[in-house]
């Protein structure tokens, strides 16, 4: 599994568990608004991503819309975790 696939799978598990939604609802184009993520969900995503990929998702990334959907989140984590490994 590529790094991005692994990240998407991890986020899918997490979001399905948090929101009790269908797995198919979590795809790269799904926005956080579509998924109805609230502030608690963001925090849980943050903590989980930090633990698994050592990537710090500062709140401003979500607040200013830099990361607004699942695909952008996957890309960001992939880029930052590569940077961490490098």
């Amino acid at each position: 599994m590529s790094n991005k696939e692994d990240i998407l799978a991890h986020l899918t598990d997490l979001i399905v568990d948090m929101k009790d939604c269908e797995t198919t609802a979590v795809h790269p184009a799904a926005t956080f608004e579509d998924l109805e993520l609230d502030s608690l969900d963001f925090v849980e995503v943050q903590v989980s991503v930090k633990k698994r990929y050592q990537v710090n998702l500062v709140p401003d990334l979500f607040a200013n819309g830099t990361i607004a959907n699942v695909g952008q989140l996957v890309d960001y984590i992939a880029a930052e975790s590569v940077a961490v490994e490098a």
Binding site: M18, T31, F32, E33, D38, S39, L40, F42, V43, E44, Q46, V47, K50, N56, V58, P59, D60, L61, F62, A63, N64, G65, T66, A68, Y76
Partner: protein, 526 residues
Amino acid sequence: MVRETRDSLSDRPWDLVCVGTGISALTYGALRLREAPGQRMLFLEQHNVPGGYSSEFVRPKQGARFDCSLHKLTGMGETGNLRQLFRELDLESSVELVFSPAWFQVAGGVELMLDQVPSRMRDALCDAFPDEAGAIDAFLYEVEVHGRNSYMQFEVMLGRFEPDFKALRVAHRTLKIITVLDALRARFKDPRLIEILSLPAIYIGAFPEQCAFLYYLHVVYASLYERSAYMRGGSQQLSRLLVSQIESMGGEVRLKTDVEQVLIDPDSGLATGVRTDRGEVRADRVMINASPRYALETLLPPLDALAPHRARAAEQVTANATTTLYLVLDCPPESIGLDHAETMVLADDPLAALEARRQARAQPTEAALCEPAYWGASSFEVTNYHALDPSGGAVVIVNVLDDIRHWPPRKTPEYRQKKRRVAEQLLARLDKVRPGLRGHVRYSEVSSPRTYERYTRNSAGSGYGNLVLPEATPNLINHNFPVRNLSFLSAWISGSGYEATMGYARMLVRSAPPARLARTGTDRSF
């Protein structure tokens, strides 16, 4: 000291211009400049004093200083979030904190002193309501666990505190979706105890039938377990200290400068600065310390890209505004029964009050329904400022939650009459629980929601931002906001109170995105 000049506002773009100098903007400025000392930051304030609600006004002839909002800074104990922030801001040595022994005194039907130490406050409640001791303990456990988790939200977001997510999830599923009133009714039998425990909702501009229980638990946790204190010199001193810090680090604060419009370049979709009544200011980044609703309706251009945000802001329910009665007595308030810094006066009949408010909310412009509901029937809060800081005079301030919609425009005879009516009603109610007090009033003055609206520009004159209703959708004003270099900060975003607004400002400073992303993140157009 802050400038009041009429010169043109410099052609060189600022790194950041901020609309408004409420406590959150000032905190943001002071913290940000510490981190990035070379930054050119400009703070513009329409009023002639900085601070927004964190300010005061004086009546020299009466020897009185009236604080516009502050009576309690929560989180001021050794481990409190605000205390830590005071340390980071080097404010601890400049301010004298006053810790009152009482959380609040209860008057009207039940006379009770609730201590600030949770175990003593528990004992006082259990003595007064012995049959409810078990429920009181269970409630305090909820405050300690769920209130604490919720209180730590900014620390969690900054990765400095990891809560038990299972407990937090349960709290969000079960405690966030019920009102304070429903939750307390499910936990207690005695209507008097329910009314007493409902009182802290006033701190967030809510009645117990409106506010989400989880948010309320956090407020109780913040004031009781993390301790609250007053600052000698009041809130204006806090604002002044932050202004001088900003200025000493190269920032500028300009008063009497009204921002009329945030300028947006239609091609790039980015903010380029602001237009004020004194000319234009160019800046790389704009921050708005005002209500998003007001900003979207008045300050931002009517661009199609902002339409969904305008609609969303309009859907938010504003927390209640306040009407305030300022009193100067001819004797120390303690000598006539206002023994502690804060007294909460209970409603005579909580059920009738609830029904009166329901009717008032259904017809919010109907004075005949609103005045009895908000001024006559509901519980209200009284602060004895003399007990906190005698240098401000024999000052007592009475706050009732109110609604701007039944207040006529200012400067009309009806408006003046209404002010007289509210003063009369509140004094009569105060005199009933502290007989004789009225005879000691030397001077009185009233601020209505219209006064607050005028001085702070807050929507509906509310000092508390939006109501945190159980069914509230998260405040998504910043998500996908098309103007990427513009952000909001204030009680309308963070939740109300000094601790929340200052904590949010700190979180913004600490969570600035990596420089690489900040650069690439600004290329999105409409």
